[in-house]
């Protein structure tokens, strides 16, 4: 190496102007993180302006004709359409069923809308529809209405699916993120990260050998079993896009309480941890499609946990943290080594690191 004189002039160290605004939609607006939240809050909720929407829960709780209904809608643009453990069809059913379950409701009716790209093989559409039918049957929900549109080649990604659903909210329950209370025990229903890793493992350009299969599953039955123990479950959330960390951050922010997460208690399957390791992803931020996180008052925690363990979807349920008065609105992880760190809302999609 040459004997060099490095140019290190502190007066000339500088940085670029900030990018404060995105005048166009960027992928991060759909990533479930801070950009998504801003879009929903400042653009959509501002335009529709009503108290029901302003609660920004997974499913809206509405009253109609004396009944309390949970009402939710979700669109599915997953790529590829088929992945280990599932496809866009069962995802579309389970996703909406689970959004309703997070209000305590058993899904009763679903609508489904397909946007099909010209040229997609009907056999593929048929397989997706069959999967939806099977998932609806497993979840005990009726697909009551539907719609189909076709767009020209190049204007879609094969198949997009939207589902909406309604279900009855059981009397005596009031489940929403604002109800998290210091002392609440934080429970996750099983190992995290499988869905996100399963989808990535077959994504074009990224295929890697993995035995991870999606955890996609309906959670209405598990929630019913939990509520049979006590209606006093404070919060339920299914940590889909943005993962467990995002759900916990949203709950902490909505309730103004702190959450302490015991990092070593969070169940991460070895294969998920390994895949995240080489992709540079944090399992806490990877999507799940058949898991829930619950905030339960301490006096009911053991009984709720027992009920979860007795249900197939909750066999791996475990306590991962506690709700506290410290650091209101913020999630803090206690690391395995004994340090602490803040767990934050991701900005947009997780970006795989360079090295």
């Amino acid at each position: 190496m040459a004997d060099t004189e490095a140019v290190l002039d502190p007066a000339n160290w500088s940085c670029p102007l900030p990018l404060r605004d995105h005048p166009v939609v960027v992928m991060g607006h759909g990533g479930g993180g801070a950009l998504s939240a801003e879009l929903t809050e400042h653009l959509f909720a501002a335009a529709y302006g009503n108290d029901t929407l302003a609660a920004l829960t997974d499913s809206a709780a509405v009253e109609l004709g004396g009944a309390r209904l949970a009402f939710s809608t979700d669109s599915y643009v997953v790529r590829p359409l088929f992945f280990p453990g599932g496809c866009i069809g069962d995802l579309a059913v389970n996703g909406t069923v689970n959004d309703l379950a997070m209000s305590g409701a058993r899904a009763a009716f679903l609508s489904t809308a397909f946007i099909l790209e010209e040229g997609v093989r009907l056999e593929v559409v048929g397989r997706v529809a069959q999967a939806m039918g099977a998932a609806a049957s497993a979840a005990g929900v009726t697909v009551a209405t539907g719609d189909t549109k076709v767009v020209e080649t190049g204007h879609g990604d094969g198949i997009y699916v939207n589902t909406s659903g309604i279900g009855l909210i059981p009397a005596g329950t009031d489940i929403r993120p604002q109800r998290a209370t210091p002392g609440d025990v934080v429970i996750v229903s099983g190992p995290i990260g499988a869905h996100g890793v399963a989808v990535l493992s077959v994504r074009e350009g990224l295929e890697f050998g993995s035995d991870v299969v999606s955890d996609t599953a309906p959670l209405g039955g598990l929630v019913a079993a939990m509520l049979a123990v006590t209606p006093e479950v404070h919060v339920l959330r299914d940590p889909t896009r943005g993962g467990l960390a995002t759900s916990l951050c949203e709950i902490a922010a909505a309730s103004g309480t702190g959450v302490v997460l015991t990092e070593s208690a969070v169940p991460v399957p070895d294969s998920v941890g390994a895949a995240c390791g080489f992709l540079g992803l944090d399992p806490l931020y990877v999507a799940n499609e058949g898991r829930l996180v619950a905030f339960v008052p301490p006096q009911h925690a053991d009984a709720v946990l027992d009920a979860m363990h007795a249900h197939p979807q909750g066999a791996g349920a475990t306590v991962i943290g506690v709700c506290v008065t410290d650091h209101p609105g913020m999630v803090v992880a206690r690391t395995a080594l004994g340090g602490t760190r803040v767990v934050d809302l991701p900005l947009g999609e997780q970006l795989p690191r360079i090295c």
């Binding site: 160290w13 940085c15 102007l17 990224l206 941890g273 760190r341 795989p352």
Partner: protein
């Protein structure tokens, strides 16, 4: 995962920490060179567990952070062309150039794709012969062999619609520059393990002698980092300065000869600007004359790209360990991952982002 889980063991970590606590008698400032190490240190709270005497200064080893603005702007100009498919590692997409980032170019219709291996970009070029496919070849010695391989393969396979936008940097000249800076407080280095797994340790004895500092090759898991710190503290306390390898499961003294040959075939050493720091002589690589035809800077007319940096952020001082991220007035106020003033706030390997994400509020330790 084998070779990872074992290096997270809290009991063994406690033993190493006890030994470090028992060894240290006075203040020492050591720099971990690599952003991956910074990320791990902050994520696991390792700095909180070390004795007060041991100060970790976060080094410039985050490829995203040090890629110069001019190169980002050239990337943006190339990516916006309708005939181009621009492929990049994921975390480059959010790095602000002058006025926009690659996400924005993508949102405005540019064909920007995240790939996980540079060879995937070459595959895109093979499959889409009517497009010009450009890969953003950035990073340290770690990513250089694979990036060199794409150009080697492009020539071998006759894939002429592929080119590389090169902004490669080398660690040893940066260590030398840091030690020569008048305000330098660094007394030892935890060298970047992955860089050494490619290059070996041959470049370090000269630096150790010239600046009389210990250089300890260090890995990335918590136990790796603690072992690196333990050996560094031991050298400092004994008044020694040697090259030590505390990451032998990945680093051989001779490095990876095949990877080094690939670098040598395709690249040549050049001066390189480091974002926030300035030009460091001989601190980078560019494509050698034989491969000039695959250089995106030559293929596309981007020589006119002029950049404008504002003086608001102090990432240059952060990158050299002169200040901690939270010493900057903009930290956490006008500068956040949502609105980064500098690249160190973008990648999770950047010291500012790591501090913001994990240390925004120093909370009362729990339990």
């Amino acid at each position: 995962m084998k070779y990872v889980e074992e290096f997270n063991d809290p009991q063994l970590a406690r033993r190493l920490l006890d030994e470090i606590h028992a060894t240290v008698t006075r203040p020492w400032a050591m720099m971990e060179v690599c952003g991956g190490q910074t990320h791990s240190i902050i994520r696991h709270g390792i700095d909180q567990l070390l004795p007060d005497e041991v100060e970790l200064i976060h080094g410039p080893g985050c490829p995203v952070c040090v890629t110069p603005l001019e190169m980002i702007d050239k990337a943006l100009a190339i990516a916006a062309r309708p005939d181009v498919v621009f492929c990049s590692f994921g975390d480059m997409l959010r790095v602000p150039g002058t006025g926009r980032d690659l996400f924005r170019v993508k949102g405005e219709g540019g064909d920007v794709r995240v790939v996980y291996s540079p060879l995937d970009a070459l595959e895109v070029a093979r499959r889409e012969p009517d497009k010009q496919v450009v890969f953003f070849g950035i990073g340290f010695e770690t990513t250089a062999p694979a990036n060199a391989m794409t150009v080697h393969e492009a020539r071998r396979l006759g894939i002429d619609n592929f080119s590389l936008l090169v902004s490669h940097v080398r660690v040893p000249p940066a260590i030398d520059a840091i030690m020569r800076a008048p305000d330098c407080r660094v007394q030892a280095f935890l060298a970047a393990g992955h860089v050494c797994s490619v290059m070996g340790v041959a470049e370090y004895p000269e630096l150790v002698e010239r600046h009389r500092v210990p250089i300890v090759v260090t890995g990335f898991e918590p136990l790796d980092i603690l072992e690196g710190v333990r050996r560094t503290v031991r050298q400092l306390e004994r008044g020694e300065h040697r090259v030590e390898n505390a990451y032998p499961r990945a680093v051989r003294e001779r490095g990876n000869p095949a990877a080094m040959r690939m670098i040598e075939e395709v690249f040549e050493v050049s001066d390189r600007a480091w974002r926030g720091i300035g030009v460091i002589p001989d601190s980078g690589w560019r494509l050698s004359d034989a491969f000039r035809a695959y250089d995106a800077e030559y293929r596309f007319d981007v020589g006119h790209v002029r950049t404008e940096e504002s003086g608001e952020c102090r990432s240059g001082e952060v990158l050299q360990g002169l200040i901690k991220p939270n010493d900057c007035p903009a930290f956490g106020t006008s500068c956040t991952p949502r609105t980064p003033l500098g690249a160190t706030m973008v990648s999770s390997e950047g010291a500012c982002a790591a501090y913001y994400l994990y240390r925004r509020l120093e909370v009362t330790p729990v339990g």
